[in-house]
C-alpha cells in the first residue's frame, strides 16, 4: 500500500502566523462578498452553486 510521503503534521503547520493572516484575509473577503450581493461573487455559499461536480470538496451543510 503506497503511503503519503509528503504528509507533515498539518495541524502544526497551520499554526504559523502567516496562515493566521491568510485565514483572516480570506474571511474578510468572504464577509465582503456577503455584504455586497451585487459584487461578481455574491457571498460565501456552497461551492455546489458553481461546481456541483466538485465532489468531496463541499461546504454544504454536513449530513
Amino acid at each position: 500500500m503506497p503511503h503519503p510521503t509528503e504528509a507533515p503534521d498539518l495541524a502544526d503547520r497551520v499554526r504559523a502566523d502567516g496562515v493566521s493572516a491568510l485565514v483572516e484575509a480570506a474571511e474578510e473577503i468572504w464577509t465582503g462578498r456577503r455584504n455586497n450581493p451585487d459584487a461578481p461573487v455574491a457571498g460565501p455559499r456552497p461551492f455546489e452553486d458553481a461546481f456541483p461536480t466538485f465532489y468531496q470538496f463541499s461546504n454544504s451543510p454536513q449530513r
Partner: protein, 371 residues
C-alpha cells in the same frame, strides 16, 4: 501522525445524494487532446423515458432537501439541442439545473434559453489561446475563437458562469498568467483541474513537486491581490486551514460519501464516480449499479455497496483515513483516479491526489508561511 484518526466524515455511502449528473448525449463537437470520454464521437441520446424515470426519485429527494441539483454533462450538452433538452428537463420539479459546456455552440438563443430556465452555467476553457490549444474540433482546428464567441454571448446577456480550467503543466509562471485571464473573462468562479490520467487519456500526470506547489502558491497570491473570483480550490484549502486552526477540521467534510448518481444516456447508473460512466473492465464489468429503466434510482443508491468496486473503494477511503494526514481535507480521493492509475480502488495515494489535494494544501500554506 497524531491527527490521522480524528476524522469521522466520509464513512459509507449517503442514502440520498445532493445532485445527479445526466448525460443528454454522448456526443461532443470537440475532440480535446486530454478528454477521457470514450463515446464522444457518437450521438447516443438520452430518451425522455430515462429522464422521467430519474425524475421519479429525484423529485422526491428534492422535495425533502433544501436544494438539489441536476447537472447536464455530456458529451457536450448543447449538442443535444434545446428542444430535446426541454423534453429531458420537463419531468424534474424543485431542482436547480446546471449545465457544463465548452461554449462553442452558445449563441443568443442559447443564452435566452439559459435565462428562461434559470440554468447555472459551467464553462470549460483552459486559459489564453496557447493554453486552450488542446481544445480542438474533429478536424484538429483550435476551438478557441468559438469558445470566446460563446463566452461573449454569455457576458452580453448577463448569464453568470463559472469556469473550469484544465491545467496540463502546472508552474508558478502559469498561475500568474491564468488568473488575470479568468479575471478578464468575467467568470464569477474558477475551478482548476490538473489534468488527470483517466479513461482514454493515458498521458502521464506526474509533475515536479515544486512546480505544483508553486502553481498553487502563486494562484493564492493572485487571488489575495484581486479576490473578485471565487477560486474554488484555493478557497477550500484556506477554509480547511482555518477550521484546523480552530480544531474544527472534522466538521469540514460531509459525514458520508455522496453517491453522485451519474445516469448515462441509456439509463445506466454509475455511482460515486462520474468519470467511470461508459467504461468497463475485465475485473469490474461496466461499473454500473443498475439501470433506471428497470430499477428505481432510490433502490440503486440504497444498494450502492453491493457493487464490488464501490465496496472496494470504501475500503480505500478507510485506508486513506488510517494513513494520510490530509484526509480531513481530501476525504479519500476520487475513485476514478485510483482505478485509472492503479487498476484498483483500495489503494491510497495517486498522482491526482498529490497534485490536486496534497500539493494544493501545501502550496497555499507555502504562500502563507514559506518553509
Amino acid at each position: 501522525m497524531a491527527s490521522v484518526h480524528r476524522f469521522t466524515g466520509m464513512r459509507g455511502i449517503a442514502p440520498v445524494p445532493s445532485y445527479v449528473i445526466l448525460q443528454p448525449t454522448t456526443l461532443c463537437n470537440l475532440d480535446c487532446a486530454y478528454c477521457y470520454l470514450p463515446w464522444r464521437k457518437d450521438d447516443r441520446r438520452m430518451a425522455p423515458a430515462v429522464a422521467e424515470a430519474v425524475a421519479q426519485t429525484v423529485n422526491r429527494w428534492a422535495a425533502e432537501a433544501g436544494r438539489f441539483s441536476v447537472v447536464w454533462h455530456g458529451g457536450e450538452p448543447t449538442a443535444t439541442g434545446r428542444e430535446r433538452l426541454v423534453q429531458l428537463m420537463a419531468p424534474f420539479q424543485g431542482v436547480e439545473h446546471h449545465l457544463q459546456t465548452n461554449a462553442t455552440l452558445v449563441d443568443d438563443a442559447w443564452c435566452d434559453f439559459f435565462q428562461a430556465y434559470d440554468i447555472h452555467i459551467g464553462l470549460s476553457v483552459d486559459g489564453p489561446r496557447h493554453l486552450t490549444a488542446q481544445r480542438v474540433d474533429r478536424a484538429g482546428r483550435e476551438a478557441y475563437q468559438q469558445i470566446m464567441r460563446g463566452t461573449d454571448a454569455l457576458r452580453r446577456h448577463g448569464v453568470p458562469f463559472a469556469a473550469l480550467c484544465v491545467v496540463s503543466d502546472p508552474s508558478p509562471a502559469l498561475a500568474r498568467e491564468l488568473y488575470p485571464f479568468f479575471r478578464e473573462l468575467g467568470c464569477y468562479a474558477l475551478g482548476i483541474n490538473i489534468e488527470e490520467r483517466e479513461g482514454v487519456n493515458t498521458r502521464s500526470n506526474a509533475h515536479a513537486e515544486d512546480d505544483v506547489r508553486g502553481f498553487w502558491a502563486e494562484l493564492t497570491a493572485a487571488w489575495l491581490a484581486d479576490p473578485a473570483i471565487e477560486l474554488r480550490d484555493v478557497e477550500f484549502a484556506i477554509r480547511y486551514a482555518g477550521a484546523l486552526r480552530r480544531d474544527e477540521a472534522d466538521t469540514v467534510l460531509p459525514r458520508q460519501v455522496d453517491p453522485i448518481p451519474t445516469i448515462a444516456y441509456d439509463g445506466a447508473v454509475v455511482l460515486v464516480s462520474p468519470e467511470l460512466a461508459g467504461f468497463s473492465s475485465p475485473q469490474y464489468g461496466d461499473f454500473s449499479s443498475g439501470n433506471v429503466t428497470s430499477t428505481p434510482l432510490s433502490q440503486i443508491v440504497a444498494q450502492a455497496t453491493e457493487s464490488r468496486w464501490v465496496s472496494e473503494y470504501l475500503r480505500g477511503v478507510e485506508a486513506c483515513r488510517d494513513s494520510c494526514g490530509y484526509f480531513g481535507f481530501c476525504g479519500g480521493g476520487h475513485a476514478a483516479n485510483r482505478y485509472f492509475e492503479h487498476g484498483r480502488f483500495d489503494t491510497t495515494v495517486t498522482e491526482h491526489c498529490r497534485n490536486s489535494k496534497i500539493r494544493l494544501m501545501e502550496g497555499v500554506l507555502d504562500h502563507a508561511a514559506p518553509h
